[in-house]
Amino acid sequence: MSNTPNDASQSGATENQIELLEVEGLSQGQIVRRRFFHHKGAVVALIFLVGIVALAITSIGIGGWDGWYAYKASGQGSTYPLVDGGAPSSQHIFGQDEAGRDVFARVMQGTQTSLLVVLAVGVIATVAGVLFGALSGYYRGAVDSWLMRFTDLIITMPVIVIGAVLALLSGGSNALILGAFLGLVLWPPLARLVRGEFLSLREREFVDAARVAGASDSRIIFKHMLPNAVGVIIVNVTLLMSSAILLETALSYLGVGIQAPATSLGKLISDYQEAFATRPWLFWWPGLFIVAIALCVNFIGDGLRDAFDPRQKRIPSERKMARAQRVARPTATAAPSATGEAGAS
């Protein structure tokens, strides 16, 4: 605001203000980060998601380490005498199931499993999608046509159908293996997008320049083209992961995903749905955690898309425009002392 020239007209000042934000000589990463952190929904979602992950890991611990929560989720001695008939109480904050197991501990364990599956899906799908997409976009020809035939093959079936068969095949007791199998179902759409991006990037001048300078194919792909495609990749991996969590929980609910003794959020719902009439808390908590995680991931994805998409300039709402006008007016007319602040508030 301080660098707005005093003699500028009112509307000019507003425009200048908006433009100055864009031309301050920021790197691409800075611009993206700044735009992302301006997206309130995405930031709240990010904080929320980090909170859920931290809660799931620290409360019941991971691996050999025991967390701060007093009750165990599984294994020997994980059933406790019923307090208050199992209803949520100060000891068992989410209540207990009919066997006396602590629901909070089980929900946390389910969250860990589901997040692990999603992470595995994300890694596998990203690696496979980026690799095949980049190769077929860069080399075209036979690689490309094979990739397209393969994706044609995959899209003949609803994802949940292939997912069910592959999940059954994976045995379902190990979250990472299940995640890897589901990753195999979900990568083709990502590969298609990356391919499209590479097809347009390979015609650009900087790629020609790199080639003329003698760069090898792998250097061109990974050093020159991949960083330029990273926006598409990140956004779509985020969206892919939100569909992965719904897919995993749905398959576990149907009984083909995660199998006992392991548990996941979907399996908890399927275990507890009969108890809805008598112990509704058994059913609410795992569901709310699925919704919370999926919603957070979706919002983050939305924020990332806005941040990475240079064409999309967010038009401020009418209220914000009015506020900007009010802020700009006193400075533009060089009104003395505190009236500017008063007008803004």
Binding site: R149, D152, L153, I155, T156, M157, P158, V159, I160, V161, I162, A164, V165, L166, L168, L169, S242, L246, T249, A250, Y253, L254, G255, V256, G266, I269, S270, Q273, F276, A277, F283, G287, I290, V291, A294, L295, N298, F299, D302, I315, S317, E318
Partner: protein, 509 residues
Amino acid sequence: MFSFISRRVLAGLATLLVSTFAMYLLVDAAIRPYIFMDLESSTKPNKAQLIAQRTAELDLDTPSVIRYFKWLGSFVTGDLGTAWQSGQSVSTLLQGAVISTIQLVAAATVLAVIFGVMVGIVSALRQYSSFDYLTIFVSFVLYSLPAFWVAVLLKQWGAIGFNDFLRDPNLSLLAIAIIGVVVGLFWSLAFGGTARRRLTVFAMGFAASAVALLYLQLSGWWERPNLGPVIIVVTGTALAFAITALVSGLKNRRALYASLSTVVLGVIVYYPIQSVLRQVDNWWLVLVLAVVTVAVGIGVGYAWGGPDKGVSARAAAITAFLVGSMIFVDKVMKVWPAYFGATAINGRPIPTIGNSTPNLGGNFWVQVLDQYTHLLLPTIALVLIQFAGYTRYSRASMLEVMSQDYIRTARAKGLPERTVIMRHGFRNTLIPLATIVPIDVITLLGGAIITEKVFARPGMGLLFLNSLQRGEIDPVMAYLVIVAALAIIANIVADLIYAALDPRIRVNA
């Protein structure tokens, strides 16, 4: 064109072949543990012999590649195989399942498309308004909802609550007020505009819904629901105005009068048609009546004449269809007291499982009502999930279209905003949607697994899931072939629709 289609069909057949081959191997490997599950835990002395017997029966010693070709051979000759655990042939299993799934998917898709597109387009036209933000948020939430959770919630909560309500149908004044406020808010946000206009719309929405609910309550409508000629006249007239406003604008008097005259016609035939409807006993007759209704609408439109008969005909046909639907719904509603009192229903008319009540009896209309009550909850579940996708899609598509140069041209040459939106904006928005919907429907046909599982509707998805978990490969493969074939057809159809609608795209290459 012909060469395009034949090329795509051939490629589709090849894809189908490879896809079934891969799926056969995968399914075969996946279900192997389930085939011997019961035997492995048994303590019978002749366990080894039983296992050997089953292996021989299912031909499991043959490599699965060879078994695939054996299966393919019999499949091509029309023998779909049998589900070995129950001994039923796959074709009988499929028959009922396909019908049940189509019923579910058709109703849900139609509703989801209509509501999703409407909300999406209004949201796009009011970009960055509160309505827009609300729509975006709601669609995000719906997008993140696990289908099975929603379905179980509806089943355990919605059904029980609604059944309790129907037993003693009394809304408190507070409930009526809350519903009125919600409806009023929705409309005021959707209409937008100045504060004064919003307030007026809110008051109108609130008053209309409150009065309607009070009327329903006081007249005992919930005990014996019906539409009757009065509601048909009132709603029909409103619909006639709304449709004319959308199709041609209210200035086009001929279109308005044509629509209104179909409403009058509908009310005139309301009593005579009842005796006809009483004779109706299958869906084909209903279809014939629907076609006749639309034809009458078109005829009325042309009869009003004028320079643009087509527009009048279109408005009148749509109105006629809607009025006809109301008469149909009215007839279905009339059997409600009988249905409600039937012993098979037992006072809980909203069922949570299956697709029909066993031993219900009654005529065609009772059966239709029974199907509807069974469809109610699964349809709501599916619509909620799909609605989000269509809203987002149509919103994005409408925003894209409305920023095109030809929209600016249309405005610049002085066309009224209605024409710009409906003729230049809306039609072009539908082009990408027209290619999404067929693919979506097919995916849903195969993928309504979760809804069918929760509500125990014996459809295709449930057939697939149960056969998979019982280790029966034949029904699973039949299901996969149907789904894959439909998906391939849907993709070809989508391409053709796209080419037909968008002259920039040509398929004769």
